[in-house]
Amino acid sequence: MSDKMVTIFVDGHATVVDPSRNLLEACAQAGVNVPTLCYLKDVSANASCGVCVVEVEGARSLVRSCVGRVSEGMKIATSSPRVLRARKNAVELLLANHPTDCLVCARNGSCELQSTAEKLGVRKVRFPRTRKPATIDESTDGIVRDNDKCILCGRCVAVCSEVQTVSAIQLAGRGIRTHVATFMDRGLGTSPCVQCGQCSVVCPTGAITERDETEAVWKALAQSGRTTIVQTAPAIRASLGEALGMKPGSLVTGKMVAALRRLGFDRVFDTQFAADLTIMEEGNELIRRLTQGGKLPMITSCSPGWINFIETFYPALLGHLSTCKSPQQMFGAVAKSYYAEKAGLAPESISVASIMPCTAKKHEARRPEMRGAFEYWRAKGATKPGESYYDVDWALTTRELARMVKRAGIDIESLPEEDFDDPLGRSTGAATIFGTTGGVMEAALRTVYEVVTGKALPSLDFEAVRGLEGIKKAEVDLNGTIVRVAVAHTLKNARIILDEIAAGASPYHFIEVMTCPGGCIGGGGQPVLIDLEKRLARNKAMYVEDLRLGMRKSHENASVQALYADFLGEPLGHLSHELLHTEYAPREV
């Protein structure tokens, strides 16, 4: 909509800007970063915080720059005494009802309220607290909400309803009683919340965070006689560096491995091994559905927020989901069965921690059916009465791992590059790209094409499914059969794809769905304060890693081949069914 550029004057300096820009963006273009606590580009501009005010010549009152529009010749003062006073007052009023336990808050150091108060020079709060204390919502495995720390910016509500179309939360009440609420204030656990954690990424304060499980992991690391195994999701190598102060998109694979060893993990393995394994199972499942008349389109099942979503909102379509467990869960099941056997370890003495870009992974790990290895050993009579264990003991977010690394005093940048341990640390480029939207599709196509046609792919790069567009489509010729595929990320886009299926109008055979914007690189457990630029940087890093790894096709992973030869037999075989596949059930809310 930029038909004609306009000239505005920001603090007296002429700037030519696009008229579709809001004042906040226009001021940024002029080199002035107007502070804000509620604005979220492309998601939310509700002018609720009152911090982004500027003075516009001719306007009666101060203008909130996130919703103000530019016009020709507009004269803007961004730091007049009146503006500075109003901003400081706005933040002081927010602080009046905000706890002052910043030193012990999970967001200490990454809190936007804290940094804004600092920037605006707030040195005391003149106003008394007026709000009643809130109860903490700990009703889910993944997310903790503390409304005491909430500043009512509305970002979480916007992301939950606009980006994810889940609408688990809304502002409820009025005046001093206004708060972010679930239906009947019963907590996220009984709401349609899918635990994607996007709310925790956009929250400016510590009001919404992941459930911190680092203490349990520290304890296991210190326990003698316990073998601690860690697995890292693909996207972590492109975001852990950023979480520790490096440039967004920094690829830190080797340093991450070194850091995990220094934290004391006995084996440093890779979820990417299980991603390659997923491709073997899911690829063959797709071929079977295509050739033997199974339910189509088949949809990927790696993203646990997405699983929660379809179980809640589209239970009639559950048959379209691949029965494959996610790589995290495949890893856990294999680690405590195959690997335990191979390494001569008692499975109950193994703890598996996973590092995930995700809050929903915490919930996935606690699903009652995710005890594949335990069932495997129980069938062999190798479990004790009353004993039970999960395949994955804890799923930590990128943010939690970053906290552990900081706490241990590890300087990630100075660490050497180290390699993952064998055999569950070996992986291919196909597994790496699982971390970004389109990656699972591309990885599956690299393998399915070669298995079906018996020919090597002319090019491994399926450009049509790359990039951050909401829904991507492609066609692949498999020996004369045209396979139509689609890739969707964010649940809003998933809904479009599902509505097509429900209407009987879906043209696709195979669909990849990722819950979060950009896929796992933009996951709900990733470093906060994310924007499109950071997503693009992390996305790019995934494809750099794809090329760096050399092997780029899952079926060429020698460790996965050995797993089939020595243990599982064949893809979709009996043991695979027991350990690597699952079923889904409708969820009532």
């Binding site: 609408s167 809304q170 009683r177």
Partner: protein, 172 residues
């Protein structure tokens, strides 16, 4: 409750109310308003909110948001009678706090905090006491509304007498 509301309760069903308003701007608000009047104890039970959300295809959290924003809506059963005390500035300066306290005492209600909630109901659902910000009758302050009828220049004596009359089944 007025006699027309009682009649409506028998004639109109929830799906009909929804159908009447569905698609119009502000439909949710109108539906909640009408449906609350259908309830004997003038409130919106959880099952009703759920049914409205499902039929209108509106998220539960949004229905809850609207129902909790407007003080007109009740999520708890209300009394068969109502005493609404105006707590606006004019009424306040002319003693509406005493009126509020007197009505609560006369009805045997304890522990009501007007900074935390704006209505309270006797355990037997006989009567609700509410506060409002202003009736717009400031010249006649203090005003109290009893079962929908506004009385001006209210006194503690007149108010307790009126409440006693409700008890004896005088009004209504």
């Amino acid at each position: 409750m007025s006699s027309t509301a009682t009649a409506k309760r028998r004639e109109v069903s929830l799906p009909e109310v929804i159908e009447k308003h569905q698609g119009r701007p502000g439909a949710l608000l109108s539906i909640l308003e009408e449906v609350q009047e259908l309830e004997k104890f003038r409130y919106l039970p959880e099952t009703t909110l759920r049914e409205i959300a499902e039929r209108m295809k509106v998220p539960l959290a949004q229905v809850y948001s609207v129902a909790t924003f407007y003080s007109f809506f009740n999520l708890k059963p209300q009394g068969l009678h109502s005493v609404v005390v105006c707590r606006g500035t004019a009424c306040h300066t002319r003693g509406s706090l005493e009126l509020l306290e007197a009505s609560l005492k006369r009805l045997g209600i304890e522990g009501f905090r007007e900074d935390e909630e704006n209505s309270v109901t006797t355990v037997d659902n006989f009567c609700s006491v509410r506060t409002v910000a202003c009736f717009g009758q400031c010249a006649l302050a203090p005003v109290v509304q009893i079962d929908g009828v506004i009385s001006s220049r209210m006194t503690v004596g007149k108010l307790t007498a009126a409440i006693d009359k409700l008890r004896k089944g005088g009004q209504k």
